[in-house]
Amino acid sequence: MRTAERTALVRDSALVWLASGVVGVSFGAISVTGGLPVWVPVVMSLLVYAGSAQFSAVGVLLAGGGPVAAAATGLLLNTRTAAFSLAVADLLGRGRLARLLGAHLVTDETVAFALAQPDPARRRAAFWISGLGLFAVWNLGVLAGALAGGALGDTATYGLDAAFPAVLVALVLPALRDSPATRRSALLGAALALAVTPAVPAGVPVLVALAGLVLHGDRRPA
């Protein structure tokens, strides 16, 4: 891979790192201001490393829902990572260590970023660049937030909650443009997910979306 291509991957990743870092800071701050000791968000981020699941688990804890409900909510949210890990399995390389380490780096953002690349070499590089950088920045952000406490204020002010869906839009658009079958499936899936959201626990809607794949059965050429 040319250096210019790698630089472009780092540049695009850096933006996701920056946004994730700030969200990590807010996760650390929310946990500590809610009354949890500093080590809880920090250790959780290192070992669990899944933003939405961490927010949900801490939210359940702080709301008095108890540790069992907190773990169950987080796990339910993370079931999608099994599907994502299958989608990127061939990018992790053959070595045992690379697979064991790479598995821990499977997140929404890194998978989307890797799959958005045009060829296998770039997909592999994108996975590791995005994954390792995101892991470092996320955990440093959480540590900073946990130490700073509530000094940052409400991150919703900066509109960061809109940045993440926009990142995903930018990353999935090429796949949606290329394949009408995937487009049909994704639209039905998103509609189903939105329809069931008020009625089911967090994490279930995106799994329901997989039912959209019934529209993928049509094999007519694009």
Partner: protein, 104 residues
């Protein structure tokens, strides 16, 4: 053992097990091309569902107008092939400005 430690460990071990599904099955189970095709389409379906629910909902209800408006601007920019940085900062900026103007 402290209940919080047990919760973190359970969540960490469970999450890692889910993430290992792909690497463990890969190379051991020969997947037919049609299944591989469905897997990559499935990843896109999951990501689109994530962005739709992330843009529109919060805690099971509507997320308010500021966030989806920002995401929509980001989507239009992405559709017009604007650089990644413009898409992401554009979406955040629109949402931030709307909130500063009093739109929830």
């Amino acid at each position: 053992m402290n209940a919080t430690v047990a919760m973190i460990l359970a969540l960490a071990v469970g999450t890692y097990a889910l993430r290992l599904v792909g690497p463990v099955l890969h190379g051991r189970v020969e997947l037919p091309p049609r299944v591989q095709e469905l897997l990559s389409a499935g990843a896109v379906v999951l990501l689109v569902a994530l962005l739709a629910t992330g843009a529109l909902t919060e805690g099971g209800g509507f997320a308010g107008w500021a966030r989806p408006a920002g995401v929509l601007v980001g989507a239009v920019l992405a559709w017009r092939r604007a650089p990644f940085v413009v898409v992401v900062l554009g979406a955040a900026a629109v949402t931030a400005v709307l909130r500063a103007a009093g739109v929830a």
